[in-house]
C-alpha cells in the first residue's frame, strides 16, 4: 500500500511540472534578498564563533596567570559555545555557498573560486584544523587539567587556525571590492583592502564576542538562583563589556583606515557609502557605534555609583560627552543635504560664501573628529572603570536587574551593527559583484541564457 501511495504521489508531482532548475525568487531582487538574508545570519554566527575561538584561549591563559578559577569557567563556557554553534555556522555557510550562491549565481561563484582558488583552499584546510582543535580543546578540558600548559598550547593553535580562516575569507571578500591582478596569487592576497579588512574584522569579532558575553551573562544573571552564580554572571557580564568596549575603542580608527583605502582604490564604492545611497545607512552605523559607547559608559557609571566608587560622576560626564559626540557624528544626515544634492543645488561652498558646506572640507572632518573623540572617550571610560576595579572600589554583584538590560541592549546593538556593516560593504560596489569585472546584470544574463540542452549555463 505504501508503494502504491508513493507512486500516486510521484505521479501527481510529475503532473505538477515542478521547475527543473533553481527558482527565480522573483528575479534579481529576489536572488539578492535570499542571499543577503542567509549571509547576514552566517555573519552573525560565524563572527561569534571566530571571536570565541580567539578570545577563549586568551581568557584561559589569563586565568592561569592570575590563578582565578572564574576565568577558567568563562573560557570553558566559550569553548562549549563554540562547539555548539560551530555546526549552525557551518550549515549557514554551506547553505549560502552551495545552495544559494552556486545555485543562483553560479557563473559569479565559479569565476570567484577560480580566481581566489588558493585562499579558498587554505581556508578549507584551516577550517578542518579549526574543527578538530575546537572539539579537542573543549572535550579535553578536565582530562588535561594536570597538563594545563599543554592545553593552553592547544588553545593557542586554535587561535592561529581561527585567525587564518578569517584572513583567507577576507582575501576573497576584499578582492571582490578591490581586485588585484587575477594572474598573480600574491597580488590577489595583498589587494589594497585585504589588510584593513583583516584588521577591522578580527577586532570586530573580538569586540562582538565581548558584548555577546555581556548579553548572555545578563540573561543567566536573571535566571540564576545561587549567590555564587549571580556573582559569576555579574563579573562575566562586566568582563565581556570591558573587553568589548576596549576593542570597539580601536574600531573608529581601524574602520576609518579601511574606508580610506576604499576611497583610494574603489572610489565609487566609497562615494556610495559617504555621499550616495548608502550614506544614511552608514550614518546609522555610526549612530550605533555611539550608542554602544554610551550604553557601556552608562553601565560603568551605574555600577560605580552602586558600589560607592569615588569617581562615578566622571563616568556620567563621559556618557554625556559621548551623547554629544554621537549627535555630532550623525549630524550631516539630519541637518545637511547629501553632497550630490548640494552640488545640484549649487551650494557646495563654505557658509560665508552662501553655501552649506563645512569649510574644513566637506563633511568628512565631522566624522573624523567625532570618531577620534569616541576613541578617546571610550578609552577614558574603560581606564577609569578598571582603575576603580583594581583598587577594590567595585563591589561584586553590586548591579541590579536593570543594569543587565544595558548589557542586553549592547549585545543587540552590536549584532545589528555586524549585520548592517555586511550589508553596506556588499552593496557599496553595486552594480558589480566583482568590482570592474562582473556586474549583477551580466551574471543575470548568463543565468537566463538557455543552453543547447534547454537548461541554463552554469
Amino acid at each position: 500500500l505504501s508503494a502504491v501511495f508513493l507512486q500516486l504521489v510521484a505521479a501527481r508531482l510529475l503532473d505538477l511540472q515542478l521547475p527543473a532548475h533553481s527558482p527565480s525568487f522573483g528575479g534579481e531582487n529576489g536572488y539578492r534578498a535570499a542571499i543577503g538574508i542567509i549571509m547576514s545570519v552566517h555573519i552573525l554566527i560565524s563572527g561569534l564563533v571566530s571571536g570565541a575561538t580567539q578570545l577563549g584561549p586568551f581568557i584561559e591563559w589569563l586565568g592561569y596567570m592570575r590563578q582565578r578559577p572564574r576565568y577558567d569557567r568563562l573560557a570553558h563556557g566559550l569553548a562549549r559555545f563554540s562547539v555548539y554553534y560551530f555546526g549552525i555556522g557551518t550549515t549557514t555557510a554551506i547553505l549560502f555557498m552551495v545552495v544559494l550562491v552556486v545555485g543562483l549565481w553560479g557563473h559569479f561563484f565559479t569565476t570567484l573560486v577560480r580566481i581566489t582558488w588558493w585562499p579558498f583552499f587554505i581556508e578549507a584546510w584551516s577550517f578542518v584544523l579549526m574543527v578538530v582543535l575546537t572539539y579537542v580543546w573543549y572535550y579535553t578540558w578536565e582530562r588535561m587539567r594536570p597538563f594545563k600548559v599543554l592545553h593552553m598550547a592547544l588553545g593557542g593553535m586554535l587561535v592561529v587556525a581561527s585567525a587564518i580562516q578569517v584572513m583567507m575569507i577576507d582575501i576573497v571578500a576584499s578582492y571582490m571590492l578591490t581586485p588585484g591582478s587575477p594572474d598573480n596569487p600574491l597580488r590577489i592576497a595583498i589587494n589594497p583592502t585585504a589588510y584593513p579588512l583583516d584588521v577591522h574584522r578580527l577586532i570586530a569579532n573580538l569586540a562582538y564576542i565581548g558584548f555577546a558575553i555581556g548579553g548572555i551573562s545578563a540573561i543567566f544573571f536573571w535566571r540564576s538562583r545561587s549567590p555564587e552564580d549571580r556573582a559569576f554572571y555579574d563579573w562575566s557580564g562586566s568582563f565581556g563589556l570591558l573587553w568589548g568596549m576596549s576593542m570597539t575603542a580601536l574600531q573608529p580608527v581601524v574602520g576609518y583606515s579601511y574606508a580610506k583605502e576604499i576611497q583610494l582604490h574603489a572610489y565609487p564604492a566609497w562615494y556610495s557609502m559617504m555621499f550616495g545611497d548608502l550614506s544614511n545607512v552608514f550614518l546609522a552605523q555610526l549612530g550605533l557605534l555611539g550608542i554602544i559607547f554610551i550604553l557601556g559608559s552608562v553601565y560603568f557609571w551605574r555600577r560605580m555609583k552602586a558600589s560607592g566608587a569615588p569617581n562615578h560622576r566622571r563616568q556620567g560626564v563621559i556618557a554625556l560627552l559621548l551623547v554629544v559626540v554621537t549627535i555630532f557624528a550623525v549630524q550631516p544626515s539630519w541637518f545637511a543635504r547629501t553632497y550630490a544634492d548640494t552640488v545640484t543645488a549649487g551650494l557646495n561652498r563654505p557658509w560665508w560664501d552662501g553655501g552649506i558646506l563645512n569649510p574644513i572640507g566637506n563633511f568628512i572632518p565631522f566624522k573624523v573628529g567625532a570618531l577620534t573623540a569616541m576613541f578617546l572617550l571610550g578609552l577614558w571610560s574603560v581606564t577609569s572603570y578598571m582603575r576603580a576595579y583594581s583598587r577594590d572600589q567595585i563591589r561584586p554583584a553590586s548591579t541590579g536587574r536593570r543594569s543587565q538590560w544595558l548589557l542586553l541592549g549592547l549585545g543587540v546593538s552590536t549584532s545589528a551593527m555586524m549585520m548592517i556593516m555586511g550589508v553596506i560593504r556588499e552593496h557599496a560596489r553595486q552594480p558589480y559583484l566583482i568590482s570592474g569585472e562582473l556586474t549583477i546584470s551580466q551574471q543575470q544574463i548568463t543565468n537566463d541564457q538557455p543552453s543547447k540542452k534547454g537548461g541554463s549555463i552554469p
Partner: protein
C-alpha cells in the same frame, strides 16, 4: 709563563675582581627569559658596530660613488655583500627587540623608582637607534635612499620658527644634494655612535647599581592578601644579596624573594636568545641580502617611494588624516617621546603588578596595539599597492 703574566696584569688591572663582580651578581629567578631582551639588544648593537666599521672601508660617501661602491659590493664581493646584509637585517631586528624590551620594561613597572634614570637612558637609546636606522637608510643613494632623504630632511621644517633653518642645515642648502649625503654619513658613523655608546655605558652602570627588577611575581608585593581574592602562597624568601635591596624604595618591592647568579643561569638564557637572533640575521642576510635599487634620480616621475617599515605607523597616520591636519600629526611622535620621558614621574604609584595598574597599562597597551595596527594597515605600501 702565561700564568705569571696574567698575575702581573691582574695585580695592576684587577681583572679577576671585575670579572667576578660582572658575573656573580644576583638576578631574580622568575621570568628570566624575558630579561634576555636587553642583552640581545646589546649583542645586536655590537654587531652593528663591527659590520659598520667594515662597511666604512668600502663605502664612498659621495653622490657620484655611493651607489657605485655598493653596486660593486653587490656584483663582485660576495663576503662584503653578506656583511651588508647582516648590517641591514641586524638593524631591523634590533629595532624589533629594542621595542619588545621597552614593552617588557613598561609592563613590569621596571621604570619606577629608583630606576627612573635607567628608563630615561633607555628612551634615549631607543631614539638614537631610530635615528641611526633612518640616517643609515639614506646612505646607499639609490632611489629609495634619495626619496627617504627628501622626506626625512623635510620633517624638521614643520617645527615653528627654527624648522626651515634646521632643514637647510641638514641638507646643506634648500635641496637634497651632495652635502646632505656627507652630513648624514657623518651623523650616522660619528655623531650617533658618540652619543649611543656612552649612553649604553650609563644604562648598564645604572642596571648594575639597582639590579634587574624583573617581574612583580618575584616580589612580596605580588602575594599581598586582598579581601575576597585568592592569593597563592609566596615562595620561601632567601637572604638578600647585593645589589639588592634597591634604595630608596618600598620594602615589598626592594628585593626579589628568590635570586640566582647572573653566571651561569642568566648568561645561559641570554646566550641562547642572542644566538637565535644572530642566526635569524644571518639567515636573512644570506637568503634575502640587502636590496639596492636604481641610482638616485631626482627627475623621475614614475618612481613610487615606500617608507622603511619602522616608519609605517607615522606614514599610515599621514595617509589617514585630512591634509589640513598633517602638520599636527607630526607632533604626535614628539608628544609620544615626551610622554615616555615623563612616564616615571607621572606613574609614581609603587604598585608593579600590571593587572593592578590599569590606568597606565590600558592606555599603554592601546598605544602599542595602535602602532602594530597602523604598521599592519600601512604595510600594503611596502608592495606599492
Amino acid at each position: 709563563m702565561a700564568g705569571s703574566a696574567f698575575e702581573w696584569i691582574d695585580q695592576r688591572a684587577a681583572i679577576r675582581y671585575l670579572v667576578r663582580k660582572g658575573l656573580y651578581e644576583a638576578v631574580p629567578v622568575k621570568g628570566a627569559w624575558f630579561y634576555t631582551l636587553g642583552s640581545a639588544t646589546l649583542i645586536l648593537i655590537t654587531v652593528q658596530l663591527i659590520t659598520g666599521i667594515f662597511l666604512t672601508m668600502l663605502f664612498v660617501p659621495s653622490v657620484r660613488e655611493a651607489w657605485e661602491s655598493l653596486n660593486y659590493i653587490k656584483e663582485h664581493d660576495a663576503f662584503a655583500s653578506v656583511v651588508r646584509g647582516i648590517h641591514l637585517w641586524d638593524a631591523y631586528l634590533l629595532l624589533l627587540v629594542l621595542g619588545l624590551h621597552m614593552v617588557r620594561t613598561f609592563s613590569s613597572g621596571s621604570y619606577k623608582r629608583p630606576r627612573e634614570l635607567n628608563w630615561l637612558s633607555g628612551v634615549g637609546l631607543f631614539l638614537l637607534v631610530l635615528a641611526m636606522a633612518i640616517t643609515g637608510a639614506m646612505l646607499p643613494w639609490d632611489q629609495a635612499a634619495y626619496w627617504t632623504a627628501v622626506v626625512t630632511t623635510n620633517i624638521p621644517s614643520y617645527l615653528p620658527l627654527i624648522g626651515s633653518f634646521l632643514r637647510d642645515l641638514w641638507r646643506g642648502g634648500t635641496f637634497v644634494g651632495p652635502i646632505t649625503l656627507v652630513r648624514t654619513f657623518g651623523i650616522h658613523i660619528w655623531l650617533m655612535p658618540a652619543l649611543l655608546f656612552p649612553l649604553i655605558g650609563v644604562h648598564l652602570a645604572l642596571l648594575r647599581k639597582h639590579g634587574e627588577f624583573g617581574s612583580y611575581v618575584n616580589y612580596r608585593g605580588a602575594y599581598r592578601s586582598y579581601e575576597g581574592r585568592e592569593v597563592p602562597p609566596a615562595p620561601a624568601e632567601r637572604p638578600i644579596e647585593p645589589p639588592y635591596p634597591s634604595a630608596p624604595i618600598e620594602e615589598e618591592w626592594a628585593a626579589p624573594l628568590q635570586t640566582e647568579d647572573f653566571y651561569p643561569y642568566q648568561t645561559f638564557k641570554d646566550g641562547i636568545v642572542s644566538l637565535v637572533c644572530l642566526l635569524i640575521v644571518l639567515a636573512l642576510a644570506l637568503g634575502i641580502g640587502a636590496p639596492l635599487e636604481e641610482p638616485a634620480n631626482p627627475a623621475t616621475t614614475t618612481y613610487t617611494p615606500t617608507p622603511e617599515w619602522f616608519y609605517l605607523p607615522l606614514d599610515q597616520l599621514l595617509v589617514l588624516v585630512p591634509k589640513e591636519l598633517i602638520s599636527l600629526i607630526l607632533f604626535i611622535p614628539l608628544g609620544g617621546v615626551l610622554l615616555l620621558v615623563a612616564l616615571p614621574f607621572i606613574d609614581r604609584d609603587p604598585e608593579r603588578n600590571p593587572f593592578e595598574r590599569p590606568a597606565v597599562i590600558v592606555p599603554g597597551a592601546v598605544v602599542v596595539l595602535f602602532i602594530v595596527l597602523l604598521t599592519l594597515l600601512g604595510s600594503g605600501r611596502l608592495f606599492n599597492l
